[in-house]
């Protein structure tokens, strides 16, 4: 189990840190359609919140590649923790449910 977590997380982190700098910077499908069909401006200045790491670039790091890699690393770890945590939480709640079902 430990080996699975380490290997899996290592692969995800490696992608986020080492491959993300190679990503295409062209607009994505929806953004491109919005540009072509003239509705991109509908989103201008409409952001409800100011996210701490906008556009996958860690603020305070001058080197663009490094800023992207650090952002990717941080995001991957946070997502792992929340998804893993959700699983642990649901599992913790589960045994009582199983009991209830069997006692019926």
């Amino acid at each position: 189990m430990k080996k699975l977590i380490i290997t899996g997380l290592f692969i995800a982190v490696a992608i986020a840190v080492f491959l993300s700098p190679l990503a295409s910077s062209h607009p994505d499908g929806l953004e491109k359609v919005a540009e072509d069909k003239n509705f991109l401006q509908a989103a201008e200045e409409k952001e409800i919140i100011k996210a701490p790491v906008p556009d996958y670039s860690m603020p305070g790091i001058k080197n663009e590649t490094a800023a992207g890699s650090v952002a990717g690393l941080v995001g991957t770890i946070i997502v792992f923790c929340i998804a893993y945590g959700t699983g642990l939480f649901l599992k913790k709640k589960a045994p009582s449910k199983v009991k209830r079902q069997t006692s019926k």
Partner: protein
């Protein structure tokens, strides 16, 4: 396909937030019922992988890029309800920490990429498995289901934009499904690459699907 704030009007994003909220509640309940010890780390790993892979925009025709979505992959690995939860986790973090997708559009994104991308995509895969059989069928079916999940998510996004009055339906539907028909090929290829990698190194992990 992460919709920014401003593209959807209030009635549309409120309705989709309600639908997605309900779907998340149901998914938490269903996942809690069937989740086993082995699935828990895979939930974390799959979500982390999808987040990382979504950063890798690959170029498609005409100055456009696309990236992996991962809904069908998550659902094939862990089941349709857990698939929704994994997509939700990724989308919430992308929105709140990386400004990728608007807060008001979060429900819409979860609808498009979780409910349609993972859940509906998964059942396309299940139906295909009943039609196309054979030794390589899981890969063929995973490819078709992944490709279709992208097209359907793009179509849903177009409908939402048109209901919001942002762009006429016909215009967005043709443009969105057109470009995503190409992006979907990337989706299908990445999905089979991951599945065949797992089959080679840890085939037991392909038996974790539940709920």
């Amino acid at each position: 396909m992460h919709i920014p704030d401003g593209f959807l009007d209030t009635k549309t994003w409120l309705a989709l937030t309600a639908v997605s909220g309900t779907a998340i509640a149901v998914s938490l309940k269903q996942t809690g019922k069937t989740l086993g010890e082995k699935q828990i780390p895979m939930m974390g790993i799959t979500a982390a992988f999808i987040f990382a892979a979504q950063m890798l925009n690959f170029p498609v025709a005409g100055g456009t890029s696309g990236h992996f979505m991962g809904g069908v992959l998550a659902a094939i690995l862990l089941g349709p309800f857990t698939g929704i939860l994994i997509m939700t986790t990724v989308l919430i973090i992308q929105c709140l920490i990386f400004q990728d997708g608007g807060v008001t559009a979060l429900g819409a994104s979860i609808f498009n990429m979780g409910i349609i991308g993972a859940f509906v995509g998964y059942y396309i895969y299940v139906i295909l498995n009943k039609i196309i059989k054979g030794s390589k069928s899981i890969f063929i079916n995973a490819f078709i289901a992944s490709w279709m999940s992208i097209i359907l998510a793009a179509a849903a996004c177009s409908v939402e934009l048109s209901i919001s009055g942002t762009v006429p339906l016909k215009t967005s539907l043709i443009a969105m499904t057109g470009v995503h028909a190409i992006i979907g090929i990337g989706e299908g290829l990445i999905t089979i690459a991951v599945l065949s990698f797992i089959k080679k190194v840890r085939p037991d992990l392909l038996e974790l699907r539940h709920g």
